[in-house]
């Protein structure tokens, strides 16, 4: 069975420890929301698991389907079934979404195997129809001059095409107005019906009104300090993060 296990993970940027013993196991079909105040290591966690070179993993392990991914390059991790939906997706001028996705799909094929162009476009268009994305979208350069909402829809389209086992969604709601948020959440919910496991990172509860999580975890000072279900998110919304901070301070006193 497909499984993503994050075990006692420690991550640093330079000499600064950011994530300090993070533990979580995600099963297929589960949506885990990670909430927490700014600067607590949520985005660091997502980017480091995806293999971003600015982050150093100093301890612990990340195991995907029984295999540690820490020795893998970012592209190998992605091909193993991991997907990072970026908080701030890069703009790639001059590279169309169609060509970009084609390269990503081709990268998943065996060496010497040629991509069937008509099959590729058929799949691309069916995913676009599913996500209600206009077909003209794919001839545009990747994220180049896109609005916040368009960038996030582009991330969801990539996720739909690449069919990862696990998606790390980093602040997917940031920079979106409520209409854009609803569209993006609809997209995620559409993909959610299958075996996809999701780690949903968010600062605000409002995203969880649209993408209802199975589990909610509160992250503070580099680790999970509280776990619960959807009601935990509502409690946070009502009480604010100070409540978590105080509780954490008391526990460590």
């Amino acid at each position: 069975m497909s499984l993503l296990e994050i075990k006692n993970l420690h991550i640093s940027i330079g000499d600064k420890a950011i994530v300090k013993g993070f533990n979580l196991t995600i099963k297929p079909g589960e949506v885990h929301a990670i909430m927490g105040p700014n600067g607590t290591g949520k985005s660091t966690l997502a980017k480091a698991i995806a293999g971003h070179p600015s982050y150093t993993i100093t301890g612990g392990d990340v195991i995907l389907d029984g295999k540690s991914i820490l020795a893998m390059q970012p592209d190998e991790r992605a091909r193993s079934g991991l997907f990072l939906a970026f908080q701030y997706p890069s703009e790639i001028p001059g590279v169309s979404i169609a060509n970009f996705l084609r390269a990503a799909v081709q990268a998943r094929m065996a060496e010497g195997e040629e991509l069937d162009a008509s099959g590729y476009y058929k799949k691309l268009y069916s995913k676009m129809d599913l996500l209600k994305i206009d077909r003209k979208f794919t001839s545009r350069a990747v994220n180049d001059g896109f609005s916040g909402g368009e960038k996030k829809r582009c991330e969801i389209l990539q996720m739909a095409m690449l069919e990862p086992h696990f998606a790390l969604m980093d602040e997917t709601d940031s920079g979106l107005d409520i209409d854009a948020l609803r569209i993006v959440a609809d997209g995620v919910n559409t993909l959610r019906s299958g075996p996809l496991g999701i780690l949903l990172i968010t600062h605000y509860q409002r995203l969880l009104d649209y993408i209802v999580p199975d589990f909610v975890h509160v992250m503070y000072d580099g680790r999970i300090v509280k776990s619960g279900n959807k009601s935990l998110a509502l409690e946070l919304e009502a009480k604010g993060y100070d409540w978590v901070k105080q509780e954490f301070a008391a526990a460590n006193a």
Binding site: G51, Q73, D75, A78, G94, V95
Partner: protein, 440 residues
Amino acid sequence: MASLTSHSATTVGAFTAEVFAAHLARVQHLPAWWLDRKRTAYARFAALPFPKRTDEGWRFSHLSGLSLDGYQLAAPINHQQVTKQDLGAPGAGTLLLANHQVVYAEPLAAKFAQQGVIFTTLQEALLKHSDLVRPHLLAQPSKLGSEKFVALHEAFLENGAFIYVPRNVTVDLPLGVFHYASGTGTALFPHTLVVAEENAKVTIADFFRSSTGAGAQFACGGNDLYAGHGAQVTYLAMQDWSRETLSFQFNATVARRDTRVLSINLHAGARQARHESFSQLQAPGAHSEMLALTIAHGTQEFDQRTLQIHQAPNTSSNLLYKNALLDQAKTIFSGLIVVDPDAQKTDAYQSNRNLMLSDEAEANSLPGLEIQANDVRCTHGATSARIDAEQEFYLESRGINPTQAQELLVFGFFEEVLGKIENSQLHDSLAEIIREKFKA
């Protein structure tokens, strides 16, 4: 006496008076005026010194790489050695010259021939259309530093392509010319001459390739593009010589009133390649677009020198040279815009952009302006930027390996120029040459 001999040997390299005599013997059937010009050119070549370190036109160039020793005139080749090449789609005609001989030709489509269009070898044009060739063939001065090598080109020019489009005729399909160098040590002197008369319209694709497994070669080529009043000329050159070749390419463009000249040069091949491009905007309304893409890897050196001269009011030019550098590759761009005193309302643009994919690569830029009119708009600029690490990570996070990610980013960087190629087959031909560079 001994010292004189050794001096002349270093000045002419393999191209001695004896070798020149052998070349002349091969082309003695050509018109006397042309043979006279070749003799004069040879004398000029032999007399001119090699470029020196202190020559402004050779700043940053690897001068010892310019040695002319060890080459020989192109030998006749077996036609079976050359595989048929075409544009990958119906064109108006194709000409494949291997070691200066025609080995394959798809004649000009009848509907264009009937309208007076000429598409033939330069030798045949010299024999049959001397009056059309003579005013334009190597008629422009060499101003960018390679006087010696331009003279060498003229002296040894043996064959090439001639394209003539009469007034008001549109050739709506591209013409394809392939210059093919076969054999190690071969010296090739290709030339393409394009004459587009008033309101004529034509697209030419000029390919430069070496035979498979060819070692060091010497390619010293040129093209003359003449655009008469209202003419529209699109010229694409794809330089993909063997990786050990020393290459020179000299371009001279003359743009008359209300012309549109678009030239796109792709530089991929050779060990060391020098490209000199000289555009003259001679009459009001003339517009010249000079675009170039260079994909440099290994220890390749690409040396590009350009001159845009605005000689009449209301003329415009746009130069964009984009270089992608990998490994220990080196590029040099030196460009000058000159605006003559009465060329008011000139609109000239010059830009060199370098994408660095390696910390060991070296890009040199020397942009320049010389403006003598007071009501003009001229801008120039040069930038060098390291490939963006966040963009690389973004692509890799989608499963694309680092080499493919770089390839995609280079294509993205080049798209501004590639996007100007309307013909999709030609677009794909260029893209394929670029793609090959990432497989090496």
